[in-house]
Structures are given as C-alpha cells and as structure tokens.
Amino acid sequence: MIETLFPDLSRADARRVTRQMRLTTMRNAMLLRAMHYFGLRSVRLLLMPDHSIAKVQPPVIFGTFHIGVPHALGVAMERLPHEALVLRRRASARAQRKNVRVVETGETDEQRALAFHRAASHLLGGGVALMALDPEHAARIAAPFFGRTILLARGAFALARVARVPIVPLVARWRGLRLETVCGAPIAAASEQEMADAAAKWLEAYLRDQPGQTSARVLELLR
C-alpha cells in the first residue's frame, strides 16, 4: 500500500499514485506478451535512445531495481559500445545476443559463486555488468530508506567491492507509450554498507520524485 512509503499523501494523490502503479503493471504485462510473440523487437521499437548511458565509462556495474520496466534494460545494454554481462537468476537461450551475455545466477551457492566469479573476472577485465540490487533470493544488506529500512541484496555491492568498480543506478519506465531509461550518478566503490546506503538513498530520491514508480517488490523489502 502506497501509504506505507508516503503517509502524508492526500487521498486523491494516493489514488492517483496507485492508478499509476496499476497502469505500469498492466503495460508491463502487455509488453511481456508482445515479447513472447515478437521477441525483443517490441522493446527495441519502444525504447528511446539514452546517450547518458553510453557515456558511462567501464568498468562499471549498472544496478537496477524491480520498478518500472526492468525487462527493457537488456535492450539498453545492447546499445552500449561494450559487451555487457547481465546477471539473472534464470535466462532463456534466446536471451544471449550480440553485445549482451546473460549469466544465470542459479539456485545453489556454487552456481551463484560461479556467476559471481565470472562477473568479477569480466569487471576486472574492464567490462560492464547489469544486475538487480533487489532480487528475490539473496543474502541481504539493510539500508536506511524512507525513515525505515530496505533489504537490498549483497551481491552487487560485494562485486563492486571485489572488482573495485562503481555502481550506476539504472531503471526504465514508461513515458506515454514509449520507454525511457533513467541513469543515476555513479556510486564509487567503497564498503558494501556505504554503497548499499547510497543506492537506497538514490532509490528513495527517485521514488519521492516519481511515487507512481513504486512497486510491490519495494514494499516487500521494506522493514
């Protein structure tokens, strides 16, 4: 419920924000359907160019959240001048394509260790990776968020620490009937806690500016 994050919203505003969240959910479901039939062409046609992402210098981790339109980000990675490694729990064979290599993090500790190792090697070699900062199954790290706490996943922050690379927050959202990406300022490699705090701070500022982008996942991770 949106009042959990924004207790001071008027009833009218809370209804408006809830409608925006539902609209995003519906549009995402339609986009997934289109992707099922037409593949990534559906996303490629809708995603507006974003030159700010291409200007981000590797090595870097693009850290995203399950808000907005996360499945647009693979296409955003295709448009980079460097090959991007995308970490996901599960991936279909057709997820592999030019300029994007998808690595499954899998279900077991050993599978996740192998994925982490691959990502670290890729980043240490000067590469680019994309991963979620809030996946479902993960070792958690708590960070201040809206006067409470959000449980983010340790993985990306540990990877950034090990490879000594920055994390750049990156999300996608609907803009009318098109898609756009929003890229934050780099979070410099530091301790895992410092980076997690900075990522949560970015997400909080983003959602305060765009409360309609709040998702069920964010509310689930709130403590």
Binding site: D109, E110, Q111, R112, A113, L114, F116, H117, R118, A120, S121, A139, R154, G155, A158, V162
Partner: protein, 82 residues
C-alpha cells in the same frame, strides 16, 4: 604442494575467520559454511595469487582446500614443464 596448501588455507581463512577449516571439509553449505560470495572470493584470491584458473572446480565434487591445492599444484607443474 605443502606451500600451495598453506597459501590456500590462508586465503580460505580470510573468508571463514570464525572456523578452522579442515583440508577435507567442504567449503560451502554444511561444511565450512562459506556463502556464494565468500566462495567466489576464495577462487578469485587463488587465481590472483597463483595466476592459474580454478573456477572449473565448481559444480562437480565439493570444493575443499585439498582439491583446490591439488588442482593449483597440477597447473603450476604443467606450466613449469611447457
């Protein structure tokens, strides 16, 4: 192999500081209890320290200090003889 095993023990100990890890103890899960991040850091530490590949050991039998040391030693010997 003794020196290799000693170095591997040090690298493992840096990521499992609360437990003394036996050479035959599985590093993950119910053994030494290293999580996926710690396991990956052990592999990276070994690769950076010895300059050989070790990630291929994952996914087969349980990863132990013994297996790591034996694998690294074999690769060092192979490299020295080519």
């Amino acid at each position: 192999m003794t020196d290799v095993a000693a170095t591997v023990r040090e690298i493992v100990a840096a990521h499992a500081p609360s437990k003394a890890v036996g050479d035959a103890t599985p590093l993950g899960g119910d053994g030494a209890g290293l999580d996926s991040i710690a396991l990956a850091e052990v592999l990276l530490g070994c690769e950076q320290r010895f300059g050989v590949e070790v990630a291929s050991l994952l996914g087969h039998d349980a990863l132990t200090i013994e297996r790591l040391a034996r694998h690294i030693d074999a690769q060092l010997v192979a490299r020295a003889t080519t």
